[in-house]
């Protein structure tokens, strides 16, 4: 037989190839595994094991089209080394801010990569905090430990659109004063943006003048009614479980509290199954869930 009787199907040719410029658009997504190239333009140490990275997408066009919602995450790729999910903790003037704790191999390597190093970025992925729905309401922002990282994006959103929201309270607990993230911004949030900030630590040092204990203790300060408020709670599972139960006993409906789950992830696209909780993909149906949903997920916390 002369001509091949089966014609190759070329996925890259079938429709015009479109780089995944905006993962939030269900646009003609083809090369889902191709990443944006991002350059680390700045890396600042926030605490002993946490650094804040500014990553600027190298291609101007990609930079322009990159958009995200607070609560979403990206996959940060070190080519030839590994890829990890990291929440976006802010984006300004063309760069993405990532707050990364040295937890294992890949994160340790990111910490070592010098300024100017190029990393891969895929995303943003996942669900986000319903900032639209919260408009006009009181908001409680509650963080424990590194939970401040995913919480920072909603804080930034609130400060940028301050007039859209009612009273905003930030409750933040950490093990020790040295572990408090973004302490250099508290003044501004307080004075300029009118956010009430309460801090608490487990193990105070000599200089610490604030409250001592766990973040649940700060909830005692809250006197206003909660049935019409919203809460975003970020932190380790034990922490948000406590906080959310406390909040609901104080009258907040469970579907007005939002938490962000962390699971092992290898793709971010609902394919590798590593993040599955029951039937739920944390990467696609989460990482942001309301507490009611979390309670109904078996093995979630």
């Amino acid at each position: 037989m002369s001509a091949p009787f089966l014609h190759p199907f070329d996925i890259t040719r079938e429709e015009p190839l479109c780089a995944p410029l905006d993962y939030n658009l269900k646009s003609q997504l083809k090369d889902v595994d191709r990443c944006f190239k991002g350059e680390i333009t700045a890396a600042a140490r926030l605490t002993r094991d946490v650094k804040l990275f500014h990553v600027r997408l190298v291609a101007p066009e990609e930079r322009q089209r990159f958009s995200f919602h607070p609560g979403q995450f990206v996959m940060v790729e070190l080519p030839g080394f590994g890829e990890v999910p990291i929440s976006i903790c802010g984006a300004q003037q063309g760069f993405i801010e990532l707050c990364i704790r040295e937890a294992g191999n890949v994160t340790a390597m990111i910490h070592r990569a010098g300024i100017g190093a190029k990393v891969g970025i895929r995303g943003p992925f996942g669900t986000y905090f319903p900032m639209e729905r919260m408009k006009g309401h009181r908001i409680l922002l509650i963080a424990g430990g590194l939970g401040m990282a995913p919480l920072r994006a909603p804080i930034m959103h609130v400060t940028e659109n301050r007039s859209d929201y009612g009273e905003v309270r930030l409750l933040y607990g950490s093990t020790e004063p040295g572990q408090l993230l973004f302490d250099y911004q508290y003044e501004q949030w307080r004075r300029v943006d009118g956010i009430t900030i309460s801090l608490i630590v487990d193990h105070p040092d000599a200089a610490w003048r604030g409250a001592v204990g766990t973040v649940t203790k700060l909830l005692e300060e809250i006197t206003f009614p909660l049935d019409d408020s919203y809460a975003i709670v970020c932190g380790p599972p034990v922490m948000f479980k406590f906080v959310c139960s406390e909040l609901s006993s104080m009258g907040m409906p469970r579907d007005r509290m939002f938490v962000s789950l962390e699971r092992r992830m290898q793709c971010g696209m609902g394919k590798c199954c590593r993040c599955n909780v029951g039937s739920t993909y944390v990467c696609m149906d989460g990482p942001v869930f309301d507490f009611w949903t979390v309670m109904n997920l078996k093995e979630a916390i």
């Binding site: 080519p79 030839g80 080394f81 191999n105 340790a108 390597m109 990569a113 010098g114 190093a117």
Partner: protein, 250 residues
């Protein structure tokens, strides 16, 4: 050459051999495709099997073989002192390996049988970690070169290497290899740490467990399965004790 903005260091590596077959050292000279890259990624301070160069200073010591004599123990302690990172290379170094099998025989009789009235010094076989702190183990009889490369890279970065948690069975299935149990043979694949690409089952031999246990070996169920398929406890124990890495419980 910079990699991700980091300049990789070329560590000084020394390779030593104790009681063993030197097959693991030999693997370092195998893997022809990237042998030049591999050897250039480090500065080989000492590799007696292949080189007469002998530098005193080194960062990483790769030690092959088990310890069966007093002088070996002394040398090991000295190497531990000098090396920043001590790596046990191969199953003999990690678990005692095949040389450990002699431990179940009477040492005096054994010596007499082989050397008559001129006995040789020989202590019970010990693995390196029974004597010194070992920073990294690379099991295998012999070690898999690809894995050695990955581990050396991790040592260069100073980051821990994570072995596959799964047992050999997964790789066996994924390579279309027929299960040895189905062929009526015994195989330690369900207990043994994967990562060898199921070399033995692929070559038509059950796994002998040279790489030590997988993350969560289920010994009890394994022995029950093997017995149910007609293997005697003697056979199962002989197999489990072969390379010294697995637990031998009745």
């Amino acid at each position: 050459m910079n990699y991700l903005g980091i300049k990789p260091v070329r560590p000084r590596v020394a390779i030593f051999g104790f009681t063993g077959c030197e097959g693991c050292q030999l693997q370092l000279a195998n893997g022809e495709e990237d042998l030049a890259e591999f050897l250039s990624a480090m500065r080989i301070a000492r590799f007696r099997e292949l080189s007469s160069a002998d530098e005193e200073a080194y960062d990483i010591a790769l030690v092959e073989g088990a310890v069966t004599r007093g002088d070996e123990e002394e040398r090991l302690l000295e190497i531990r002192d000098r090396a920043r990172v001590l790596v046990a290379l191969g199953s003999c170094a990690c678990y005692g390996g095949v040389p450990r099998l002699k431990n179940c025989f009477d040492p005096v009789e054994m010596n007499h049988e082989v050397y008559g009235c001129h006995p040789r010094e020989s202590l019970p076989t010990r693995s390196l970690r029974e004597i010194v702190t070992v920073d990294q183990e690379i099991p295998g009889c012999p070690v898999a070169k690809v894995e050695v490369e990955r581990i050396i890279q991790h040592l260069i970065w100073g980051l821990p290497y994570r072995f596959p948690a799964y047992p050999v069975c997964l790789e066996c299935k994924q390579r279309y290899i027929l299960c040895r149990f189905e062929q009526g043979e015994l195989c330690l694949g369900p207990l043994t740490r994967g990562g060898c690409l199921a070399t033995c089952p692929r070559g038509g031999l059950g796994c002998w467990g040279c790489r030590g246990p997988a993350a969560e070996p289920n010994y009890g169920e394994f022995i029950a399965i093997a017995r149910q398929r007609g293997f005697t406890l003697r056979e199962i124990k002989e197999r489990l004790s072969f390379f010294g890495g697995l637990e031998v419980t009745p």
